[in-house]
Symmetry: C2
Subunit: 157 residues, 2 copies
DNA sequence: CTCCGTGCAAAAGGTTTGCACTGGT
DNA sequence: ACCAGTGCAAACCTTTTGCACGGAG
């Protein structure tokens, strides 16, 4: 991410912390900064490694905790957010997924129209695309029911 | 998956085993069958639990090993196949990913045309879609180079 | 007899939790 | 002085590995 964008995002984060009365600690700021500065979707451990020398007494635990907080605040995202266990899919053909962000349920979408979308080649030369899969995120019927009862459909993640 | 489809898939698997001179053991067949019969993208452990009483001495290890074999054979798929560690993404806006199936590298795709695709609502009533993200799988420039040297572009995962 | 798949147990990551300490307010 | 964030260590969960047993060719 470009330095200017990083700065903007950090400022937004700072504002968000103030609004939520959350202390903006060095660790929080630096972990977010380190994540924003790289484009390679690092793991918690990779972030820890890259920060360990800059923030001497930094603990892995803190990296995990801060990342969890950032996700909860909506400032960063988990990729493949299902707990930690790998999930398997018996369907090998092209198909897509509905992923409920409340209960992590994954529902198959077999829709020929989606499979045949006229996909523009993304400008990334050199990458040879074999296949694709669309991940729709949202709220499943079941969780909608539950949230409707509570009257809080705005459970932003 | 419908019983007929399950049967078809199991037959294909049997044929594939014969072609590869791989023994079609009870465990292999039943683990695949259990996966095909459910639509909820189970974890290895969930499959183990559902099979433990049907196949008495079944071991978790075998479930993991057989699932690995099935993936390698192309009969089933891993969802979010990056190793085991969770990866984080600093971009929270709509964007997409190129995922190299050789080195697991993830590259961001920020392409307005992709973001604005006229997406048909999948027929799944009740699911409220907030957003989506397209996962393109293939081979990154770097790995293409490596495989070209080796002359073996068929490093199937 | 040999080979390979399996089961068990132990190891190897990755992530979370309990508890004490510390820094800012 | 208080509260929340942090660090350390240990626990926990998922996955892999080493080794011995047993069944099929």
């Amino acid at each position: 991410m470009k330095p200017d964008d990083v700065r903007t995002r950090l400022d937004e984060f700072e504002a968000l912390c103030r609004r939520r009365r959350l202390p903006l600690t060095v660790q929080r700021r630096d972990i977010l900064k380190a994540l924003l500065e790289r484009n390679d979707h690092p793991t918690a451990d990779q972030l820890y490694e890259s920060l360990a020398d800059r923030i001497p007494g930094l603990s892995r635990t803190t990296v995990y905790r801060v990342l969890g907080l950032l996700v909860e605040m909506g400032v960063v995202r988990r990729l493949h957010h299902s707990g930690t266990a790998v999930r398997f899919d018996g369907r090998v053909g092209r198909h897509h997924h509905l992923i409920c962000k409340h209960c992590d349920k994954i529902i198959d979408v077999c829709d020929a129209a989606l499979d045949e979308l006229p996909l523009p080649q993304p400008g990334n030369e050199g990458f040879e695309i074999d296949d694709f899969s669309i991940h729709f995120t949202g709220t499943c019927a079941e969780c909608r029911g539950k949230n409707a009862e509570k009257g809080t459909p705005t459970t932003d993640n």
